[in-house]
Amino acid sequence: MTLLDVQQLTVTFELRGGALTVVDDLNLSIGAGETVGLVGESGSGKSVTALAILRLLQPPARVRGGRIVFEGRDLMTLSEPEMRSVRGGRISLIFQEPMAALNPTMRVGDQIAEGLTAHGVDRGEARRRVIELLDAVRIADATARARDYPHQLSGGMRQRVMIAIALACHPRLVIADEPTTALDVTIQAQVLEMLRELKDRFNLALLLITHDFGVIAEMADRVAVMRAGKLVEQGPVRQILREPSHDYTRRLLNAVPGMSRR
């Protein structure tokens, strides 16, 4: 069943010199429980696509056309209050830089609870859920860690907190924008393994934005390759990795070190 269906999405940056198309007639769908990898290099439009889905784009960026159908509703037509209940509630977002995304002046427990109370959970229940969530993302001694500030945690732990925030309201879709790019490789492996487990446990769909084909190979069911705002190719992960049909995908894959030998 299709959970998210992005149809002919076009996003432009309205600049003084004219409009610059950064996402160009993009079609992308994600089924319930599916992991779709969105790959591309810097400037390809993958993060803008993520923000457009959540209607978080700021000027000069503007959605010029297309539909974003999620659970049967076109998100583009929702009122702002309706959209707020979708954000964090049905669709949540994990950013690349947990240190930049977390509030440095707030205890991490309160930051997780904030999402819950904003979606109507009462405070006592929220406190209980915070500990449950910190356990779910395998943070040891959750009660004590909930009282920590972000700077007291390691990079891997911060990213776990981000994931706990994203999962707080039982979303159906998590958009993860380069979730492990800032992490060391051993920590990345732990976080990816955890994401895989949580995805199965909560039956989440995952839109995984990355530039790393290794992460794609480990995580994705399907892959979409973006370049300069356009989707150049999409398909099942094995097909894209083994028999890419588009020249750009081939070049991107060939540029991955060690691709030929492993």
Binding site: E41, G155, D184, A217, L241, P257, R262
Partner: protein
């Protein structure tokens, strides 16, 4: 005679401390590190953040002064050099930095950035220097008509080429490349790596290649040392390290690298940091392969 020999290098930092603060914590950034780089080597120094790999590279060039140990370049200790001698020695030993955005002065034109080392070392007349800058620009694959541009007018890959041109200006024999491509997109990475390899062949360069990307190191380095918390835990021929890692940390590190095959069995090994013993000496575990086990 090896080109470079690092002997029992130590650099500790005090973290925290100060008036009314708890006693500082000593961070053993580089803790008794020894290795040898032969002429023509592409020597990979790998590790995760905080392993001490960059500090090691900086100590070699004395951009950071080590606490103890020795660095021998062509059998001569560079740590005992006066400032003047060290400046001369740096003609032969150069560095390429990770971030081509912060390592180039945004207010200098590309031509002046590349020319600066020649001026500092009082080499050539202005005309000769201009000629040399042009030559370097071509050597690293930049368009000499862009000599008058500022760093912001170049892409990330092009900026890294400017950084490489600057490092090559004095005709060095040895280059510390500190994560030279990790800030770049993967297709640009491949181009800059190709350039570094081509320069190695053309100019007979020797590299200390500091990196966290194991796939890249496996592809380009002939020898590798793995650092963990200031210690080298394993060192040897690249093929041997990657096919037969002996240290539990190396095994964990290699098993964490994402495979490009979705059907590859996942056999991740965890390394329990609390079991790490700092004082285990290196021993030979295979031909040209040492590990602290």
């Amino acid at each position: 005679m090896p080109l470079l020999e690092v002997r029992r290098l130590v650099k500790h930092f005090a973290k925290g401390g100060g008036f009314l603060a708890p006693a500082p914590v000593i961070v053993r950034a580089v803790d008794d590190v020894s290795f040898v780089i032969e002429q023509g080597d592409m020597f990979g120094l790998v590790g995760e953040s905080g392993s001490g790999k960059s500090t090691t590279g900086r100590c070699i060039l004395r951009l950071v002064e080590p606490d103890s140990g020795d660095v021998l370049f062509r059998d001569v200790s560079v740590l005992r050099f006066s400032r003047q001698r060290m400046r001369d020695a740096r003609r032969e030993m150069q560095i390429v930095f990770q971030d081509p955005y912060s390592s180039l002065n945004p207010r200098m034109r590309a031509r002046d950035i590349v020319e600066e080392p020649l001026i500092v070392h009082r080499l050539g007349s202005p005309t000769q220097r201009q000629e040399r800058v042009r030559e370097l620009f071509e050597l690293v694959g930049l368009d000499p008509t862009h000599l008058g541009r500022y760093p912001s007018e170049f892409s990330g890959g092009q900026r890294q080429r400017i950084g490489i041109a600057r490092a090559l200006a004095l005709n060095p024999a040895f280059i510390v490349a500190d994560e030279p491509v990790s800030a770049l997109d993967v297709s640009i990475q491949a181009q800059v790596i190709d350039l570094l390899m081509e320069l190695r062949a053309r100019l007979g360069l020797t590299y200390l290649f500091i990196a966290h990307d194991l796939r890249l190191v496996e592809q380009i380095c002939n020898r590798v040392a793995v650092m963990y918390l200031g210690k080298i835990v394993e060192m040897g021929e690249t093929g041997s390290i990657f096919s037969n890692p002996a240290h539990p940390y190396t095994r964990a590190l290699l098993s964490a690298v994402p495979r490009l095959d979705p059907d590859a069995p996942r056999s991740r090994v965890d390394f329990d940091a609390s079991l790490f013993q700092r004082e285990v000496p290196m021993r030979e575990v295979g031909s040209s392969h040492w590990a602290a086990v």
